[in-house]
């Protein structure tokens, strides 16, 4: 595996918000004869406040798995994922469950590739939920959610519906709004522009720029080279010697 970080001096002076070192992930498929599949190993990088680091590498090189381990959604076999949370370092790889939940609520946003719709819950409420969990008053949270969805081209009528029947691009925009609304200090983005048109891509690029400007640390996967060039300060390459 080769791994190289090309650093520009854009964010060199800012404090690190996320430090990953020696990270390795292997899946053991017990019900398929115990076959082991390595997702990635020896992954190490850091992301500073106000900076966006893009993970790059071919399909299957483990980019999404890295994001999921950082979010605590996957378990790592080796290494540490240190996040700055309320002024302290928390290692997501070893922290107790309740600490991981607290980090997710207060310090970490995760825009995954697919929205998990909840029956009967309107899009605007799905987006407002992270704010409400932070203690924001319900009406104010809903108003902010509506404004953000409108900015992403989800109309007033659509946002009052449960997104189970939305198109892929509409669901993705709901997911993006939910990730950005609470302005988390650390934000993980898994192909946030994959199924968006030009105008909405530009909106997401603008949202990323605003997040960086307020000091957020962003770690993302951007297949679209144009988007990546516009948002990323550095790239980190996950390359496999052998295809899986």
């Amino acid at each position: 595996m080769t791994a190289a970080a090309h650093k520009t001096d854009a964010a060199a002076a800012s404090p690190a918000m996320l430090e990953v070192s020696g990270l390795a992930k292997t899946f053991t498929l017990h019900i398929q004869g115990g076959v082991r599949i390595e997702a990635f190993r020896d992954v190490a990088f850091s992301v500073a406040a106000g900076e966006c680091l893009a993970l790059v590498g071919p399909s299957g090189s483990g980019k999404s798995s890295v994001l999921r381990v950082v979010a605590g959604n996957y378990l790592a076999q080796h290494g540490s994922v240190k996040l700055r949370h309320r002024g302290q370092w928390v290692d997501m790889a070893t922290a107790p469950h309740r600490r991981v939940q607290e980090v997710r609520r207060l310090s970490l946003g995760h825009v995954s590739q697919f929205l998990r719709a909840i029956p009967r819950v309107p899009a605007v409420e799905i987006v407002a939920e992270p704010l409400i969990r932070l203690g924001e008053e319900r009406a104010a949270a809903l108003a902010r959610a509506a404004a953000l969805l409108a900015r992403l081209g989800i109309g007033e009528r659509l946002m009052q519906l449960a997104p189970a029947t939305f198109s892929g691009g509409e669901q993705q925009r709901v997911n993006i709004a939910r990730g950005f609304i609470a302005e988390p200090p650390i934000l993980l983005l898994d192909e946030p522009t994959a199924s968006l048109d030009r105008a909405n891509r530009d909106t997401v690029v603008a949202l990323i720029g605003e997040a960086k400007a307020r000091g957020a640390a962003l770690l993302g996967i951007f297949h679209d080279a144009d988007v990546r060039a516009r948002v990323a300060d550095r790239t980190y390459s996950l390359a496999k010697e052998t295809a899986r």
Partner: protein
Amino acid sequence: MIPCVSVSFDADADDDDAGDGEAPLLAVSGLCFAYGARVALADVDLTVWPGEVLAVAGESGSGKTTLLGCLSGELAPQAGRVGFLTRDGKRVDMHRLGEAERRRLLRTDWGIVRQNPRDGLRLGVSAGANVGEPLMVLGHRHYGWLRAQAGDWLDRVEIPTDRIDDPPATFSGGMQQRLQIARNLVTDPRIVLMDEPTGGLDVSVQARLLDLLRRLVADLDLAVVLVTHDLAVARLLADRLVVMKDGRIVETGLTDQVLDDPQHAYTQLLVSSVLQP
């Protein structure tokens, strides 16, 4: 013949302690239960924190329902402790309390939602009386207040308040389950046990009930132990998930982590056996 030995009881030194000084509401250790020679629970440890929804998943016969019975004290385990943190900050073992004190604590602090609402309701008396009765047991006597509380709770569980005088025998299954939930929550319990609360309901009725439960649990900051074989229900409602097999806990973790990156062979089998949990 008891197939396991009792282990030391050190609830507050739980390995999931986040170091914030908070203590688990429920701290269970070394729980063993056998029906004759058949082991239903073998050395079960678990914790439930205030405001947390813990799902217990596993197939039929894995010990889920026996576990709920042992938590509330309806079943007496052969070994182990069920440590409950009382409102005045003392930890009591539900199985070492006197019967009167245990019953008092169950009335004030616990709710128990049965899979079949007919087991948790009094079918012959009105819906309003079903909701008001737990309050009367706690000593409330003012009829107007009791009726207002009942009406308020019927509304919260989306039962039309003009059905307040109808007996639940005339309700649909989904309405009966919502009524049972109201009957359990009206006393402002601190922990609620739920045994397959959406089992046996149509999918659309399930969705409505799940949405209702999700909102109530968040609004009331309830701790819940939810037994379910439905991993999608666990995904929707639970903060943490415990997977049981043959009376043992084989895996525990944050719900999304256990479902998306299951470690144990049995959990992998469960997750891979359903369509999109």
